[in-house]
Amino acid sequence: MKPTNQLGASISDIEVFAADLDLQQAAAIYREHGCLVVRSLMNAYIDAMYNDIMRTLDIAISQLDQAEKAPDGWRTPNGSLFIPAPEGYERDKQVYVVGIDYYTSGAFLQAALDAKALDIVEAILGPNIELFGQGQSLVKEPVGGFPKILHQDSAYFEHKYEGPVAILNYVVDTDVQRGALHVVPGSHRIGQLQHIDTFSHLGLDEDEWPWEAAIPVEGQAGDAIFFHVRTVHGSKPNFSDKPRQVFINRYRRPDDYVTIRGFTVANRVEAEKQAQEARKTNAQRGLMVRGFRT
């Protein structure tokens, strides 16, 4: 039986195949459901991304004795973020964010510039597109690697206009046991939801948004999951015996910008008070990957 979420969509409603891509159909799925799975979109980059992510992680692990304490974990000199590991793990820290980005990995930047991916983003956002952020890679270490409970990214970075389109890409074959992404199709249309402080930072109340509200997107290395900044999503722990690597590229209209940023309920409330004063500054300009900035 295919998993179906509360809003009635199933995985077949949100998936297309890179080899047989209809851009308008893909954009229509994204607009309706706030998410889109494009099978095999990133196949060309997977080997290189796997190598670069694991190389970065190896360096990070070798730097753990130099890691600086951060409020929620430790940061190594190469920019990787670690959090406490579950009991019984081989280390007392497990990686959370791997310090790889467009400045350290050519494969990462090439993946962000993939023509077919940008064609889809253009069909969604229009002809002018900038990068938001510098790329991000998350690794769930095996045997209990961190969960991220259901949430909207807009809780962390609400935007003035459409907001960023995120593309989360599987670097390895990923099933539910290994920490597959869960999405709630259609949730991008219900507005900004009230988040609460959780062990995985801002998240939705699990009584109101249980995992059963979402559908798991299992997939193979190279599958890409597009999702709207307001689409509810998250992932369970990695209970497999192998790590789960993903990388994320984000894109937005060049005139778009963050109006509210927060990481706790308290600092988001404070940020909401300043939202009207938010403006696009030069520091917020991303590299143009399509079109022109006027």
């Binding site: 951060a70 959370y96 964010v97 510098q134 991000q136 998350l138 962390y156 963050v258 990481f263 520091a283």
Partner: protein, 55 residues
């Protein structure tokens, strides 16, 4: 004479302060989501006073 000496000390103090004013780059990385937007380097103006320098 004392007035001249005081003036020289004031000038010297001013030069030390000027030399010690600097911009310090502080990159904050706290949470997974914060890494997305905080890759923008936060430049903080930090004035190091002569007192801080001595301590």
């Amino acid at each position: 004479m004392n007035a001249d000496l005081l003036s020289e000390q004031q000038i010297l103090g001013s030069l030390v302060l000027t030399a010690c004013e600097k911009k310090e780059e502080v990159t904050r990385v706290v949470t997974e989501k914060e890494t997305v937007i905080q890759k923008e380097t936060v430049v903080q103006e930090k004035v190091v006073t002569a007192t801080q320098l001595r301590s």
